[in-house]
Amino acid sequence: MAEFSWDVRSPLDRALVAGQYGAQGDAGVSLTEIRNFDLVQVIVRRGKAADTAQAAKARFGVATPETPKAVQTTDATLIWSGPDQFFVLSKDGKHGTEALAQPFASSASLSDQSHARVLISISGARARTMLAKLSSIDLHHDAFALGAAAATSMDHTSVTLWRGNDRDGLAVFNVLVFATFAESLWHTILDSAAEYGVAISHSEELA
């Protein structure tokens, strides 16, 4: 029987080339792929909204996002992804599917999306200008403040978008995209960002 060696690789393994891209000089946009995260989709069962909220509060110490927003705790981020559903983003299995199975056993259904999505963190002085080419959502600070989230589309691709904590005084936009669409969206982002200069990297650290 053939021996198989399964390597865990990012869906952007081929497309992502770390370093500078596009216009020379100071990069206006920085793109960081976040790798090796745990992502669980939590979907409330019928009539169990209150039970799920209670279970989440007990587990995470915060209220679940019931409107489009992302809620950060010390070791997890809860991101609204639709009516009565949200993502739990964390690292090192702390809040992975196995860890969450028991707390949500009687209220919500879980689906492990850790290897089904790619997480791209977008920041830089020209990040908003670049994103304006891809998204019809108003990302101005007054309209899309810290912790704002949206289930939306970029380049006809469904994404979950939310604003994380600022880095170096600049806004950080996180994009979760389906793994099989990630390479296509990545190239679209690169094309859109090239004129501003891009700094490309990947990281194991959740922003």
């Binding site: 489009p68 992804s81 009516p83 019809s136 289930a151 469904s158």
Partner: protein, 91 residues
Amino acid sequence: MRITCPFCGERELGEFTYLGDAKPVRPVAGASEGEVFDYVYLRDNIAGVMSENWYHGGGCRAWLKVTRNTLTHEISAVEPAAGVGAAKVGA
């Protein structure tokens, strides 16, 4: 045209898919052939205010019931379709 999703807020038309008239109701089991034929095939071609099903597939993936004027494209109401979201039923 923009649609104000009750969950997401105002979004561009491209995020939505049109399904059609929200009025037809599936006949009960054992309904006459005429009633089933009407439900499956016969549609009103409304010039004016119409109740329509739309799908927010490019966003929160909720089904919506949109009240739209087919002459002016003016949208007067958007609400979640029946059964959308666990919180809407039995909560």
